[in-house]
Each structure stands twice: as C-alpha cells, then as structure tokens.
Symmetry: C2
C-alpha cells in the first residue's frame, strides 16, 4: 500500500498509525513524547540513564528501561522510529550504541539545534536513516514527572528538510508530530538554527543581561521599583542555567550572528542617544517588528505531498513563508 | 492642629482628607488620578487640552475643563495640590501658566523622569512649592477612557526626597498617594532616574532591539517559530512609540549609563562565545539577578515621620533599602 504522503512512487510503508516509537531519553520532552505517542495509539517504549526515572515511568504504566541496547534491538525488530531525546552533550555516547546495535534504523531527534546534531549523527552513526526534528515546546520544569501528553498540542515541530533526506523517514517524523497534536514546520537545518538563535536563544541572553543590569545597583531601590516591563523582560532568565547553556552553546555560530545583529543595533542606538538624544529609529523598528510578529500569528495551515522533483525544496518554502503542514494533501 | 506626619514642629495644615486636588492633564495617569482622588473623598478637578476629553470626563461625572487658568485660580483659592500629569514636552507651556496664575501653589507631578522635570520647574515656575512624584502604574492603553480609579492600587509611587523640599507639600503628596491606594517610595531625583533607566527604560529598548532582530529575516520562518521567550521579551516593544520616546529621551544621561552597562555585558558575552564558546558567566549572572528580584518582592512596609534633623535623608534611606512608606508613624 503506498503511503499517503508519498503517492504511487513512494516507498511502501506500514500504515501511518502503526509505526512503533523508541524514545531514547525520557526527560521533559522524551517523557512527554512517550505519553503522547501512547495516547495516540502507538506502540512506544523508552529508555533512561536513570534507574529512578525508569522506575517512575513504569510506575506510571509506561514501558521504560535503562537498557538502551535492548530498546534499540527492539526497534530493529519492529522497524520502529528511534527518537533521540537527550541533551546535545549526551549524543555521542547514544549514537555509538545506535551504530553498534541498530545502525540503519529510522531515526529522528528532539534536540534544539539541528546542524550540530546532524554533524554528530554523521560522525557517530552515519548509516542511520536520520531526519532531524525539533518540537518547540517546553516548560520551566524538567524531568519525567514534568512531562505531559499534551505538551506538543498546537506546537510547531520543525522537521529538517535538507535535500537528500530519506522521504519515508521524513513522513514518519511528520506523522509522529501530527499524532502528538503538533504542526510540522519544514526547514533546512542551518535555517532552523539561525531562526531559533534570533527568536529563542537571543531572548534568553538579553533577559540575562537585563536581569544582571537591574540587580547591579548597590542598593535595593531599582529592584523594588521593577514592575511588569522588567518582569516580562527577565522571565526566561529564571530558567535553569544548565538548560540555557546546553541550548545556546550548541548553536554557537548562528547565535554569534544574532548577537552581532543585536550589538549593532544597540551600538547604533547608543550613538544616537549620546549625540542627538533621539531613539526614534530604535523604538519604531522594534514596534514594527512586534506588530509584524503579532499580526503574523496563526499562519495558514497547509497540506502537501512528498512528491515531485524536489519535494524537500518545496517543503522548505512552506516553512519560509511561515506556514505549517497539518497533514498530507489528498 | 499639627499634621500627623510633621509632629508638633510641623507647619499647621488642613486635615489629611481635605486637601483639594487640581490635575493638569487627564490622560491615562491624570484621568485615573481624578477618579481615584474622587473615590477617596477629595474635592478634585482637572484640565485637558482636548475638548473631546473634557466632554468625555464630564459625561462620566467628573469636573474637567479646558480652561487651565481657571483651574489654577481655583487651586490658589483653595490652597489645593496641583498635579502636573502631562508629558515632559508639554511641561514648559503648563509651567508658564502656573507661574502666571498660581506662582506659589503646592505642586507635584506624575512625569516618569524626575531630574528633567525638576529642571523645568526651576526654569519656568521657580516659586512653586514643588515636590516631584512618579506613580509607577500604567497599562498599554492611554487616554481618559483607559483610566481607572484602581490604577494605583498597590503600586509604588515615588516621591522625590531631595534635601530642601517643602515638608508640608511632601506630606500632601504622600497622603494623595496613600489615598489612591499606592505605597510611597522616597528617592532622590537622580537616584530615581538611574533606577528607572535600569528597570523600566532599558527593558523597553532591549525589547525593541529583540523585536527588530526577530523580524529582520528575509523570510517568515523565525517569526513563525517565535513562542513564549520572544513574546515575553518583546511585549513592551508593542507600546506606542511616542510614549516610549517621551519617557526614554527625557532620561538621557541615566539611560546612557544603563545602556553602557548592558553593552559592556553583551560585549563580554560576545567575546566569550566567540573565543571559548562559553556563556556561563552571562547566564548565571542573569539567573542570580532574576532570583534576587523574585525573592526581594514584597519588602517591608514601614512608617515614619517628617521630623528630626534630616527627615528627607532618612526617607531616602528607606527607599534605598527597598522599602515603602504606607503611613505616618504614630
């Protein structure tokens, strides 16, 4: 039976609701994925490096083990989709096990940077049928207990759409995202990294700088007067530092570009303030940017097929237009 | 009868609930003040440069006119407290009328910068018995219709506490703030300006820069992926540019110091990211700053008297410790 998204020329594949899922790492994201896939009717199992986490997950009724090799062997036996849901620094060890036990498995990930992850896959598990992913969901909490089957509802789930990727695995990842309630945003790995540097990683760093400046006084007056503008502007500075560092430091090149853009704009503003005293250019550009974002929310949901001469190039254009895939075109 | 806050050596004065209030400018802040003072039982009247605003206020049952001179003459006749609630650029014209019609009136203001306002008073209405104020409340909306008697409830209301100010008018301003439900934070004018530069004006400028960087891409991908960290970090960039400009440009010197602090921290971060790739110093300092703010909220409310050798110096120390006055000590 041809797969809905692939059309007659697509690779034959099991029905969309049947692909089993093997989740490596069951913290906030992986743990939520185990729950969401289970709720969607998938066969799903997971692994954790922590005995306590595996015990807690089993106590909640889920199939989670500490034996990564066994979980990967089971993925080979059922042609399951393997999802890497560990922090970037933990990838090399996990990928070595993949290469040893399930070298050609269907594989995706939930790591927040895509170029560094693809590089690690190329190096440590080069035979895997890998298509990168990034479900853009999270909370201030972490760990298995913080997870929820609803975490991905209406979230954007970026799926890497660089030329040469395996279309059948691409369909697997998209269908998993839809099963979890998310909308699929196709993007080239490097374009993803530049985008999240600007709208996710830079906000964390500016919040940190603002919080440090606000607290820098030698008395309590400033902090005692801080109200909503400071509260909003520094909210993500309250995120656990390890999480912010893992996210931002793994996206160094793209983040440098975003930081330099911000520094350039701040420097120009400083110059204008010192010379003419005028801030209109800065304030109006910011107002226009915020308005553009506010008015662009809720872009059209679209449907497409993985067919044609350049299906992934067409998908990338969908993402660049700010749209999201919600299913296959009929 | 001696005034409660001033003690036996204080200037005799009417009872605290009786001082009438004349509000010049009935936009969001002035309009809210008219409503709040009325609700507190004060005799209150206001002025607007706009016939439409005055009509709307009268239709709502309040005593608002477009005749500023008449309002000021009435203030002279009743020894009322005049409150300047116009934007900084409108101050010179208003102060010229004060100097012509009510030159020695009791006077305060609700402008968000205190040094520039005090300078304008010195220049255009130097005989007024002026004590600066800054009720730190606001919404994203503006104008009479957006006002509310509850706007100042639990808000910080900074009252300038530089040496040499008129203690009787100081008590007037504090009692008006309390009547409106606010807590009084005493601060020197220049210390106020430095503090708000760091915790209010800089947040607006960083939000503007972040919004501009986020919208700078030549496609819609980044904005379509922007979620809570971008939404929070850019919220105040959606404020009407004229309001942000009036606020920030009037606080140029203090704002330059805050911007330079932020630029220094961002530059150091950029250097660390480019050289070692490490962001720990930035992220941890931001986390510590946010935690310090979060844990410092709800400082002790204190009571004091305007007595002793240096009553205003003692009040300034209360503000520096992050505390607020909620009434006179008995």
């Amino acid at each position: 039976m041809p797969r809905p998204g692939l059309g007659a020329e697509g690779v034959p594949s099991p029905g969309v609701t049947e692909r089993a899922v093997c989740v490596i790492g069951t913290g906030l994201i992986g743990g939520s994925l185990v729950r969401a896939a289970d709720k969607a009717g998938r066969t799903v199992w997971g692994t954790s490096a922590s005995i306590d986490t595996a015990d807690a997950a089993r106590a909640d009724g889920f199939d989670v083990t500490t034996d990564t090799d066994a979980a990967l062997r089971r993925a080979v036996g059922t042609d399951a989709l393997v999802v890497l849901a560990v922090p970037l620094p933990a990838l090399p060890d996990v990928l070595r096990r993949v290469d040893a036990v399930a070298p050609t498995c269907r594989m995706t990930d939930a790591v927040s940077v895509k170029v560094a992850t693809a590089d690690a896959v190329d190096r440590f598990a080069p035979r895997a049928r890998y298509v990168g992913g990034h479900p853009m969901a999270g909370t201030a909490d972490s760990g298995w207990a913080a997870g929820s089957a609803a975490l991905f509802a209406d979230a954007a789930w970026v799926v890497a759409a660089d030329d040469g990727l395996d279309l059948d695995v691409w369909a697997d990842v998209a269908e998993l995202a839809w099963a979890c309630g998310a909308r699929v945003v196709p993007a080239a790995a490097d374009e993803h990294d530049l985008a999240v540097a600007r709208i996710s990683h830079l906000p964390h760093l500016l919040a940190a700088v603002l919080a440090a400046v606000g607290a820098a006084g030698d008395d309590e007056l400033a902090l005692s007067l801080a109200a909503s503008s400071f509260a909003d502007g520094t909210r993500v500075a309250g995120t656990r530092p390890e999480l912010v560092l893992a996210m931002c430091e793994g996206n160094r090149d793209a983040l440098l570009a975003a930081v330099d853009d911000a520094l350039g704009r701040l420097g120009a503003m400083r110059g204008a303030l010192a010379s003419t005293g005028g801030l209109a250019a800065t304030v109006r550009a910011g107002y226009a940017g915020r308005e553009r974002w506010a008015s662009s929310r809720g872009p059209d949901d679209v449907r497409a097929r993985l067919t044609g001469l350049s299906p992934l190039a067409e998908l990338r254009e969908i993402g660049r237009r700010g749209h999201a895939l919600v299913g296959w075109a009929v």
